[in-house]
Symmetry: C2
Subunit: 347 residues, 2 copies
C-alpha cells in the first residue's frame, strides 16, 4: 500500500486537519499521479459539512485534481511517466450499463465511484479525494492534460469546466445565439469564457454591480443587474439559452421568461430547497428547463482539449493547504475570483 | 353583420345563458362556418369563472369548433362551400413576427387573437367562441377536416389533440420508446391514443384504479396506480418521455425520477400553483422538464390529417347545450369519458 498524506475532516463540525492514509498499489491498468494542484469546489464544503446527508468520515475532499504521472501499470496505454493527468468527480463506474456504454459514466446505473465521500465499485473501500499528495486511478478514469503551462488554472476545469461545457454543447451554444449566464462564481465565470469562445453573445446576470468589469474581461458582451422580475421584463423572450449556475435559492420563473420560443435554461447549481416553477413559464414559448451533471470521461477529455486549443483556464487564487479554513469561509461569501486552488507542495 | 345565436356568461358567477350577438360580414379571405359541434375544454371553465384573471364578459366560450363551410369570401382558396372546417384556440395573429413566420402563431409576439375571451388583432373587437351557431374566420386560421364521419369526435382534436400531438412529435415519441402519460382525462386519453399510434410503449399513470380497463382499450400497454414516490421507485430511470396532462397540484419530482438519461417530461396542464422542482431531479440523468402550448396552424393541420389517416378521434359524450351547467360540474369531477361535446343543433 502507498503511504499518502492529505487533509481530512473527521465530522461535519470539525475543521480539516492533516491525515495520513494509504492508497492501493499501482495495478496493471492504474496510474499514480503526484498531485500538484486541487481546486476547491463548493460541493466540497457541502459534503464536509454533511449538508447533503450521508457523508462518510474521515473525508479527504477534492475532485479537481491535476498532477504528474509518477508511475504507470504494466498494461497502461494512455499515459507514460512524466505525463500530466487529471481526475474529476469520479474514479470508476460499472463499465457495462447503458449509461457507461454511451459515455455517461457519471450516471452509471450502479452508481459511479465518486472521487471522495464514496466507495470503490466493491462498495467497501472508501475513496479519498485530491486534498492529498497522490492518487492511484485506473487510466480509463484519468484525463490527459496536454497544456502544462498553467496547471493551477486547469484543475477547476475537471469540475467547473465540464459542468458548464457539457450543457453549452448539448444546447448548441454558438454564433447567432444569445446566451445568459446566471451567477458569476466558479461555475459562472467558466460558463462566460466557454460560451464566448463558442461565438455566442453572452449576457451575465448577477446581483453584484461590482462584477460588471470582470464580466467584460471574461468575455461577456452584456451585464444585467438582477433585481425584480419587472426590471427584467424588457428582456422577456430574448434569449436562446440560459445557464443557471446559482446554488442559492432564487426565482427561476424570472429567468425562464427571458427565453425565446423553444429556448432552454439549464440548472447546474443545486439549491438546498426545491424551486417553484410555474407551468405557464414553460408552456408559453414551449420552453425547456433542464439539468446537467458534469460529463462523462470522453466529454471531459473533449472539454480539456477544447480549452487547451482555445487557451481557456479558470481564474484562480492559489493557496497553501494550511489556509483551507479561510478559503472555505471566503468561498461561502463568494469572496474569490473565481476559484481557490490548493498548491499541494504546501502539504 | 351576421346575427348569431350562442350561449354566454355575464360574469364569473353567472351560469351560461342564451345570448344573441353579431359576427362580422364574410370578408374576401373569410369563411363562414355553420358550427355543428364544439368541445368543452377545462380551460373554458377556468375562463368563464375568471380563474386566470382578466376575463372579458359577456363571454361565449369554445375553441374546439367543427362545422360546415356555408359561405366563402371572394379570395378564399383553401375552402369551398360544403367543405368541413375547424377552428382551434386562436383566430388570428400578426403574421409578421418570427414566431408567426415560423408557424408558431400561438406564440405570436403581438399576442394571437384567441378564439374567445380576447380581441381581434385591432385589439378592440371582442372575440366570441364556439358555443354558437356560426363563426366567421380568416381561411388561414381555419383547418381543413377531411374526415366527415365523426365530427363530434374530431372537435376536441382542435385543442386536446394538438396539445398532446405537438410534444409527442417534438420529443420523437415512437417505436422503441417508453412513454408515460400522467392523468387520463380529456388530454390524457388523446395522449394515449396518439403515443400508441406512433409506436411507443405507453404507460398510463393515474390515481383511479377504475380507469385501468379504459387505458388498455385506448391503447396503453401498462397502467400504474400513482401513489407515493416509494411505490414508483422500481420504475425510476425507465422512461424516455412523460406527458403530464394533470392540471391539479401534484408532485413533479416523483415523475421526473422515472426518466432515463436525457429523458424529458412535458407539462401541458396548468395547475393553479407553481410546482416545486428539485434541481437534483433534473441534474441526475441530464433530465428535461418542458412545457408545450397547443400548436401552430400548420402543425394542427398535420395533426388532423394524421388522425384521419390513423382513425383517431376523441372519445366523447355529446350533449345538448341546455345541459352545459351539468357538463361543467361533471368535467370538474372528471366524470366524463373523455370529453363533452356540444351538439349545436340543440341551440
Amino acid at each position: 500500500m502507498l503511504k499518502t498524506r492529505g487533509y481530512a475532516a473527521d465530522s461535519p463540525v470539525s475543521n480539516l486537519k492533516p491525515f495520513n492514509f494509504e492508497r492501493r498499489e499501482v495495478g496493471a491498468r492504474d496510474i499514480l499521479i503526484e498531485i500538484q494542484f486541487c481546486g476547491i469546489c463548493h460541493s466540497d464544503i457541502h459534503q464536509v459539512r454533511d449538508e447533503w446527508g450521508g457523508s462518510i468520515y474521515p473525508m479527504v475532499p477534492g475532485h479537481e485534481i491535476v498532477g504528474r504521472v509518477a508511475q504507470v501499470g504494466a498494461d497502461v496505454k494512455k499515459f507514460k511517466e512524466g505525463d500530466f493527468a487529471g481526475v474529476g468527480c469520479f474514479v470508476d463506474s460499472c463499465r457495462k450499463c447503458e449509461n457507461c456504454a454511451d459515455g455517461f459514466e457519471q450516471f452509471c446505473l450502479k452508481q459511479a465511484a465518486q472521487t471522495y465521500n464514496s466507495t470503490e465499485m466493491d462498495r467497501k473501500t472508501p475513496t479519498f479525494g485530491g486534498y492529498s499528495s497522490q492518487i492511484v486511478v485506473d487510466e480509463n478514469y484519468a484525463l490527459k492534460i496536454s497544456d502544462e503551462e498553467n496547471l493551477a488554472g486547469i484543475a477547476p476545469l475537471l469540475c467547473a469546466g465540464i459542468t458548464t461545457y457539457s450543457p453549452l454543447k448539448r444546447f448548441n451554444a454558438g454564433k447567432g445565439q444569445k446566451v445568459g449566464i446566471v451567477g458569476l462564481g466558479g461555475l459562472g465565470h467558466m460558463g462566460v469564457k466557454l460560451a464566448a469562445s463558442m461565438g455566442a453573445e453572452v449576457t451575465v446576470f448577477s446581483h453584484s454591480p461590482s462584477k460588471k468589469e470582470d464580466a467584460r474581461k471574461l468575455g461577456a458582451h452584456n451585464f444585467v443587474i438582477t433585481k425584480s422580475p419587472e426590471d427584467m421584463s424588457p428582456l422577456a423572450g430574448k434569449y436562446d439559452f440560459i445557464l443557471d449556475t446559482v446554488s442559492a435559492e432564487h426565482d427561476l420563473n424570472m429567468y425562464l421568461n427571458l427565453l425565446k420560443r423553444g429556448g432552454a435554461m439549464v440548472l447546474v447549481g443545486v439549491p438546498e430547497k426545491a424551486a417553484e416553477v410555474s407551468a405557464f413559464s414553460l408552456i408559453v414559448n414551449n420552453r425547456t428547463l433542464a439539468g446537467s451533471g458534469i460529463g462523462g470521461i470522453a466529454e471531459t477529455q473533449e472539454m480539456l482539449d477544447y480549452c487547451a486549443e482555445h487557451n481557456i483556464t479558470s481564474d484562480v487564487e492559489v493557496i497553501p493547504i494550511q489556509k483551507i479554513d479561510e478559503a472555505y469561509e471566503r468561498t461561502l461569501k463568494s469572496d474569490v475570483r473565481y476559484r481557490f486552488v490548493i498548491d499541494m507542495k504546501s502539504l
